[in-house]
Symmetry: D2
Subunit: 427 residues, 4 copies
């Protein structure tokens, strides 16, 4: 890995946690240059919900490239885009009775968030936006202003502007309903929190540590928004595209966001692709006002269309995700029995093992990698081991991965137990 050390910026990160050179990948398996196989419980941080190099999508992709379909076309109309729009409408929006306009933003989640914030600020003529503790929305200046973690915020070299933070569900402990705090500060003209254009929220906070908002809390947040003519933006970049079971993570909560951001698994093949969905009356954009070179990544349109057709025309896939999600949950609950520091939370196939202690979680991740499992930590202190395996993972591979994880937890606990004893002995 010499070339990476010499030439690549210090900012590189995952390659430090998983220090090998990967070459091939199929479904839930990564293979490195030495031929070693790894089960992938990371999935590109939720980008590979349908698995690595999913053969159905691959086929569509190869055919399109071979036929010299337009690859890059700015935001010109192309057949690939046409098909994507038609499929999104038919397979996703209409069955859910969702009336949204689609904006193709720059192909990163952060870019979609930047667009969503502009939409809100312009529609309401207000500069403030409310975001939540532990929220993560990207690292470009507009998006990072809504991102809670100081690791990212401090890097800008500028003070945040235009975002106020409110406590997420559960942030103040089980006895405080934090939606009431938001209700209070918005109702109170002297709270210091300027009436926002929008509230931006993840239904499950991925980077923030697999924090799960209850459906009731989400409905209360929506009610606060409605009361004060504030838009509700759901950032569904990590939790969307089936991760929690339904296509959108907010479906079962019964809320109706004004703006939704999607990215990560949207293309289905790991290709950069993002959209913003917005209620039609919010589509106040002037042509070209939010532009960008890669808004028309036609290869992504092709794979995204194939993914929607394959996985979302029936409820089967969704049901399968829920079934496997329960299996993951049960396995994690079992692991958590081993130590009182451990607890489990999540929704669908987005489950976290909270280890309280970042070092412990990190040790588990390292142990897993040694045993052939790629899994990352999340949360402010990296204290949560986050399970984001492909949704298409086979039962067998899933079981194998969970066994490795369990062993990794046990090893880490016994190490940390030893350490604790040693430390106790020393002090």
């Amino acid at each position: 890995m010499k070339i990476f050390d010499e030439l690549e910026s210090n900012v590189r990160s995952y390659c430090r946690s998983f220090p090998t050179v990967f070459t091939e990948a199929r479904w839930s398996t990564l293979i490195d240059e030495r031929g070693r196989e790894y089960i992938d419980f990371l999935s590109g941080a939720g980008t590979l919900n349908y698995g690595h190099n999913n053969p159905i999508l691959k086929q569509a992709l190869l055919e399109y490239i071979e036929s010299d379909g337009v690859v890059h076309g700015l935001d010109m109309a192309t057949q690939a885009k046409q098909r994507f729009l038609e499929t999104l409408d038919r397979v996703i929006l209409r069955p859910r009775k969702l009336d949204y306009k689609v904006q193709f933003t720059g192909p990163t989640g952060a870019n979609a968030v930047e667009a969503a914030l502009k939409i809100a600020r312009n529609a309401k003529g207000r500069s403030n936006v409310v975001s939540f503790t532990n929220g993560f929305h990207g690292v470009t200046l507009g998006a990072v202003s809504a991102t809670a973690n100081s690791h990212y915020r401090d890097a800008t070299g500028l003070p945040g502007m235009g975002v106020s933070f409110a406590p997420y569900d559960g942030y103040m402990g089980p006895d405080v309903d934090t939606s009431e705090y938001l209700a209070q500060v918005l109702a109170d003209g002297s709270s210091g929190v300027d009436l926002p254009a929008a509230v931006i929220v993840e239904t499950v906070q991925g980077e923030g540590g697999v924090n799960v908002a209850s459906f009731e809390w989400l409905r209360k947040i929506e009610a606060v928004c409605r009361k004060h003519d504030v838009l509700l933006i759901v950032d569904d970049i990590q939790a969307g595209c089936g991760r929690t079971g339904s296509f959108f993570s907010f479906e079962k909560a019964g809320v109706s966001p004004d703006v939704v951001t999607l990215s990560k698994s949207l293309s289905g093949y790991g290709l950069p692709f993002s959209v913003v969905l917005m209620k039609p009356e919010l589509d106040l954009w002037k042509p070209g006002e939010h532009n960008g070179t890669f808004r028309g990544h036609n290869l992504a349109f092709v794979t995204a269309t194939a993914a929607l057709e394959e996985y979302w025309r029936t409820a089967d896939f969704s049901g399968d995700v829920e079934r496997k999600g329960r299996a993951v949950r049960n396995a994690l609950e079992e692991m958590a029995q081993a130590d009182q520091r451990l607890s489990v939370r999540g929704r669908g196939m987005m489950q976290g093992l909270d280890c309280t202690d970042g070092e412990l979680a990190s040790q588990i991740s390292r142990n897993a990698f040694d045993r052939g499992l790629v899994i990352e930590t999340s949360g402010a202190d990296g204290q949560v081991v986050k399970c984001l395996m492909p949704l298409t993972i086979s039962d067998e591979t899933l079981a194998k991965g969970l066994r490795i994880l369990k062993a990794s937890v046990e090893d880490a606990l016994s190490d940390s137990g030893v350490e604790d004893l040693e430390m106790a002995g020393v002090s």
Copy 2:
């Protein structure tokens, strides 16, 4: 195009100028659903320097996909990335004696600019950055703060912060050396322009209207930067990757930027891909501080590597670009003879026909499209017809495209002459 009107946001733009549904593309030719062919003088706004679906790159891409090479890997080490780094170093950096660290940012130019601004602000501990009139650097909040055009700035709903604007070369007319103005305001503690962390500049402003900075002016700007310990950032997203003849647009100017942003034609195949190059001492990033899902777009690594190998190992390609650039220039100069409102400027194969009048330029673009040529306008009022044909365009196609352009200009002039007469008659 019904589905676009119904479902796609009003923000869509190019599809309004070129209202047809494109299906295929090869080299310099776009084909629409009715089988009509168009010569492409737009090239994805400079993203397709090597032509649409360049067969050399296509071959590499297909092989990689077929072999199930890793497509998405966050910023994990992959073989494709390894090869790209090695090739960039061998083919581009070392021959030019450039000592840069490479940061893989989110795959948009705006994201690279955001990273570059963070690097500068953190390295210098200052919040201000100087950008130039008519500069374009993207539309995410950090990047758009450095973008001059109010069309993009106003959409944020927030006041700009952390950027001061200075007049670009030629902005104050031929008699004023605007580098001296920058020199003065930076030397003067009472100019109101806070000492910046960096100056960010395009050597040729693409979106801004094909404004060309002289090499001398660029050297003077660099000298001002050095004098005040200010970083020089060259945004080479549109002018780089060979567009002006050399790989980097600043090579012949003899300046040595501290930070360089690259995107657009970097992947060579229209795939989203961006990097920041920075002098090693500026690589103060903490791991993961600037992150993002699509920093490791391996398909782009593959095509970028193929493009570097194919076009940049010798000086041939570069020489050919200069030769064709002169041909374009000469043809435009000839067209400009027809009317005193017209003038030509540019460098290499980035040439603009300034029509003074946005409506005239727009008419030329419309005429061209009707005749089978895709070409866009740029500049604050859209007054500049911008030639950005693929660098690989054949002499024959180039000649044909220029003939269409000439006819489009002539038609527009005769129309506008008629209109002028009519208006004169009416008033």
Copy 3:
């Protein structure tokens, strides 16, 4: 009052609540042009703690003016300033073992706050400051950013920057210790609240509605500050200078602010005068860095010196304030018996009658004015009738004023009862 309506800006405010032209004033009495006398329970919003035209101060002032003492001297050294500094040190600082440097800022409270915020931001190299719900610190851009009320915030035409708001003591109801919320968000790197340079707090919020922070809460806030190397700024502009009993309002809480702002009653005669007190190690100012024309208002030095000598060399005055404060409290408590909407809170001679309802409070104030008592409302909805009579008020006048207030409350309640009945009848 024709000239005021015609020439003075709409921004005028108190003259609308108390619509008469005042001519003379002595101690606790205001006299208007028709010779009508009013008892003053407003005291220039806490600026006239020693009474209108206090004869002891008046004597010192007249002598100084008659002798042609320097009136205006920028921040040059003058005898009057020398004496003020010496007296402040001898009478106030040294007996309280407070080691502060004194900064003469522009003569408004807002200017002192602006200076305090600069001190904090520069000393800590951080941009964020934490302020509290319902906090009021002035309306210049820096100060208003720390002021919670949107009435003032919205007038700037700019988004707030550099201030995060936290809930004040009691804001989330009696069961939530809001100091723990602050402790949590500062300890949590992913709370979205950037580590602040300082926390700025009023021990009793005057404009915010006579909200009283408990001494324990103040100590906890101080402890949070110490833990995170954050400065504690007490804005003692309204609650200081004896209003709560002690000279500084924080004395009994046992906290040791790093920075203190004083203004309002500091001159003792209603003359514009403000200072910032700061721990010596924070005095990192370069000469002239925070300047202003009226930092050396020598007439204010003269009356301030006389006030300190007269009222603060012994504990008598302080004791008297506490005694009268209890009397006010008792009277208000009695009034509050009349209606369940009414409640009382305050400290020393800063007591508020919370009427829950802004219209009711406003009616009480109007009734009082009709009966010869000047008293204002405060709080986000103007729902709190605020008692800020001169600390030097005679027992007799105080009793008379409280009788008027009581009658005004009773009238307002009976009116509002009638209205309620009428409204009930109508609906």
Copy 4:
């Protein structure tokens, strides 16, 4: 001066340049504690246009205080305020056909500027304001954002927001008409300078180095404002109240500002006092939106009224200022003959001797103080010796002061000549 060194903040400034303790002052004379007399060419930086302790104003002040006139009344209506408004209207506004509403802001110039900026931003719904190189408007956050000097800007610990700087008249040398630069950037939607709510300008920049805008330039700036529906704010805090001859400094330029700020010499006696004048249609304030404790400084109303009555009912005073201004100018011109580094500029009795070199100017100021003349330097490098003697100075004292200044210049030149020779000898 021990107490100042020990207790007063390092921010103190003038007391370092004029290190003595002043006790008394009359007209143009300051007297220190050792009885030494100084001629005052500083006048509280333009605050004492009518002289120290002007006996006419003093008489009015003493009578008011003795009669227990209301001293402090927030913004309640008082007889003193009524008389001031009536006099301002009769003596100043109506004769000049100026239709302005009057806002009593906090009693500092900075506070008036803060209010003026709010008025503009709210009236136009835009956040940007254009200010000029070397402009000084105060040091509170809003005002300092419009102040050019980094000495003040850097102290805020926050990046500037909402202000763009343009070159003042003459900033780019005699051959460049900087009003055209402003015209260009405002007409150009791609200049990076957002359309401002207002342009704020001093007709003569006092703190900035006695830079004089030509009347023609001011008219051009006004024309640019009118063309783009941008407000023109004249900050007349230092140049107003007769300093340049006329009451307002802009009268002879023939411009009609939308908003004017006045302070410094407005009270005439050195008492803190500021107002904003605005065209009636801009008076969109809600009651109390810009508040503050000391907006009703009745002592200042009394002396201001007396000053207007005494000095501005006829043209005599104005004529006298112009006559003395010419005398000062001639004397300075003569001094400037002595060395090619010296030049003179100014208007009326606001004249500067530009020494090119800050150290030379500083030496002149020190020499003058030693000889009994108080005079300060201004400009970005303190390179300009600024003459701001009281407008009421007697011809005799003026002549004496100018003789001292001449001798101080000669001494400084001969010293600096010696130094130059010494330095030449060494190197």
